[in-house]
Subunit: 515 residues, 2 copies
């Protein structure tokens, strides 16, 4: 490598490390706000966050960094990691540079206003209160997309905030088979009497006890306590301040222990991704998780593929029974079947089971896609509740009685986040495909999980996924990890077998059918 290139690389890395530090500070300010900040500090916190975010934006858009990255991107012979690092930094920088500062400010200002209006509209179950500002946010998001790339469909540009490299065609290819197989499957199961809920699952367990069990289980999953913590928050999340400081939060309902435990397993999955990043690149963008979908794949893999599997429960049930009398008499099969119950009356995404969840996402995706469409296909904001309710009936067989349980249930749009929802289901598909690969790649994986041995899976995921960060594109990473492009089939096969089993429905014999 030429001396100039080496010195340019060193300079770029120093500047990118600075941006990483500011990201970590912003992440910590967010964690603090959710977990420990006193209520009266919100205004000052807003000022602190804007100040750091603005300085970060200025440093990101600094002309010297732009020149450095531009020159490095044009340099032949960079190693693959350096090249990926430059590519990731450049992508973020170019998006930022193309956004007019007034638009950024307007977006942030309207999102703050919209959050309050949404919360009030939701409280009253009245979409018409939210519609005007939602319309404004959609217009601003359209302007944002046009500023970043006027050649591509607006929605596709927005998706890239969450899934770099993903396209509308790509999502359609993944989601169409979900509709095609999940809707009829749900219809079939609806007629059957589902698995009973064992008594242990309704046991009352104090929050402190639940937290202590959750903490111990995090250790079983391999969470590194010297680089992380567990705290409480209203909505569970995984935050912190970079890969050496990974903070899981959860909440506990006295009468719903298992959902709290699964929430901890879910967040621990996110945490293991962060803790598994390449420490030598910790301060560089290339070490970051590949995408929201990839992050979700790790949480869902641990929560669902492991945490709801009969094999892991062979370990978990006696482990729980030793620690909590309510589980002493519980039967293994009854519990794992009950973890595959469909609540056919549920219309809330965050409470949905594994089988219904993707349809909640498909519905939102289609609505977002059509909101940002050009020409006669474009969906009008005013029509959203009707479209929502009609799709709910068609996909999930229920019609929300009001907007609160319908179109107003999610916070995302009020924050101006359009294009986020697909990542949840991309994560679920990835989780199934990755776990299917892991079963083939790790000898005795399921038997080991039955003894609570999580290290082999963690080491494999660390090597295959976590440590790779963003060195590869999303598509290339899927191929590198699983040997093929992302496909909905492993997920559909997994979920169908699991729920048919739990409902005692006949096994599905042949592949894919139309909706």
């Amino acid at each position: 490598m030429r001396t100039t290139t080496a010195s340019q690389l060193a300079q770029a890395r120093r500047r990118l490390a600075e941006l990483t530090s500011l990201d970590e500070v912003l992440e910590l300010l967010g964690w603090d706000q959710e977990v420990v900040m006193p209520s009266g500090a919100a205004e000052a916190r807003g000022r602190q966050v804007s100040t750091v975010a603005l300085l970060r934006h200025q440093r990101l858009c600094d002309p010297q960094l732009a020149r450095l990255l531009g020159e490095l991107a044009a340099t032949e012979g960079l190693g693959p990691v350096d090249a990926a690092n430059v590519r990731e930094a450049l992508r973020e920088q170019q998006r930022a540079l193309r956004l007019p500062p007034e638009l950024v400010e307007q977006l942030s200002e309207r999102a703050v206003a919209a959050h309050g209006i949404w919360a009030e509209a939701r409280e009253r179950g009245d979409f018409s209160r939210f519609a005007p500002i939602l319309g404004e946010l959609v217009d601003l998001a359209r302007k944002k997309a046009a500023a970043i790339d006027p050649e591509r469909p607006a929605y596709e540009v927005l998706i890239e905030d969450f899934e770099p490299g993903m396209t509308i065609a790509g999502i359609d290819r993944l989601f169409a088979p979900l509709r095609a197989r999940l809707i009829p499957l749900l219809g079939e199961l609806r007629g059957l009497s589902g698995p009973a809920r064992p008594q242990a699952m309704g046991a009352t367990i104090a929050a402190d006890k639940q937290e202590a069990l959750g903490r111990e289980l995090m250790g079983v999953l391999g969470f590194d306590w010297s680089h992380g913590r567990l705290d409480r928050a209203v909505h569970p999340f995984c935050g912190g301040a970079g890969m050496s400081d990974v903070r899981v939060t959860s909440r506990y309902a006295d009468d719903d222990f298992l959902s709290g435990l699964l929430a901890i397993i879910h967040e621990t999955g996110h945490a293991l991704y962060e803790q598994g990043r390449d420490p030598a690149l910790a301060d560089q963008p290339v070490s970051r998780a590949r995408s929201m979908g990839w992050h979700e794949s790790q949480s869902l893999l641990w929560e669902n593929q492991v945490g709801r599997s009969p094999e892991f429960w062979r370990f978990l049930l006696p482990w729980l029974a030793e620690r909590e009398p309510a589980f002493a008499g519980a039967e293994l099969g009854a519990i794992t079947k009950a973890l595959a119950r469909v609540d056919f009356d549920n219309m809330i995404r965050v409470e949905a089971d594994e089988l219904s969840y993707p349809l909640h996402v498909v519905l939102r995706y289609e609505i977002e896609r059509d909101l940002f469409a050009e020409g006669p296909d474009r969906l009008a904001v005013a029509d959203l509740p009707a479209v929502w309710n009609e799709k709910m009936q068609r996909y999930l067989g229920v019609t929300p009685p009001d907007d609160r349980q319908g179109i107003l249930q999610d916070v995302h749009w009020s924050g101006g986040a359009f294009g986020y929802f697909p990542s949840y289901t991309i994560g679920a598909l990835l989780a199934a495909q990755i776990f299917a690969t892991a079963k083939g790649a790790i000898p005795g994986l399921m038997e080991g999980l039955g003894r609570g041995e999580t290290a082999p899976l963690r080491a494999w995921l660390g090597r295959e996924v976590h440590a790779r960060g963003s060195t590869l594109s999303s598509d290339a990473l899927a191929v590198a990890v699983t040997g093929s492009q992302l496909s909905p089939e492993p997920f559909l096969d997994y979920v169908e077998a699991k729920f048919r089993g739990a409902y005692g429905a006949p096994e599905r014999v042949s592949g894919g059918a139309g909706a």
Copy 2:
């Protein structure tokens, strides 16, 4: 006010608010590190702190801000608050601008190295290991002082980091009478049998119970929980993220409840200062506490003048007895006398009683002053342990058996902080003078404290001290609050009466005597 001036003021305030936000972020990063950060995150935290500190430095030294402040400082007819705000900002900026960046970096780099070396030297009780790097730090601090103001004595320039406006002559004027009266008083009391330690003071109380009592007492003192919290840390401190987010920390020893409770009262005194700042100026430098000494005056006023007074204990003892059986049979007089016990064998500053403490500070002040003196008066680093031990014997009547209990006991110098120690005693003097004024200004103050009524004192301190922030110079503030310049007499009279009383020594009849 001219339009130009108004617009310049608005611009300056916007930029100063940005600096305040970054200060608050840095303060929060420090709190987090002491209270919740996992051990393995120290390296990343160092990177985060340096990044924010460097950006803050760049913003502080920005030529546009320098021009703005310069022009505003030269503008006639600014209101007193705006003028003080500009003055405070300018003082900080000029100190920063005069320091060469290489020197700042060197100071910070050597201080990090010195901390480790000091800790090891202290562990081994061997000053000779610490001496070389201490010498380097003294040289660097001398360079720093010369860069800031080559016309003034180096030590005086260093003091200004903690006590703006304070001079060596000013400290000598305050500290000489302390030596003159405290040394003979200590000598007199040493011959007497001191107050006994009542059984209640040795009671074993669990840390959780202590914390709960401390929390409740903070409420009695008027701590605002919507703008603050209480947590645990190895060394108690008051931190947070600005006046709307004030975080007290403490620690609890099972067998030393009262010292833990007094530590909480002390930190709550700091916290009330922060919570009492002018909210309309929260993001401006003028709202900040006047100095370290002024901050300490508020913690010591609540800890000693209130928290160790027989009057407040009329409220506190029954309050404690209701909550903790160990205090049920305790006698009021015995406890308040025991709070004025001298441990004549103690040689550790942080464990010193109210009477001995100032002599520990005088000793350090004299050593620092002489370390930075010019010409033949200059004290050599190699001579420090001998000078330390000789002064300890002369002032406090004890000679440390080793450097660990002598010259190596404090962390300050290893961090390059020279000139900090005087603030502790300036705070004690201020506390006594302010409290003497409060007694005259607030009708029935002491009777009210005897009923646990803290609101009148808090309101008075809020108006007289807290809300004034840095609008006045330290000298002018002392006059505004107490009617006269700071003097050692109120403190000496207070402490002499208190300790003579506890020791049953005859009252002192006439004023000031030579040492």
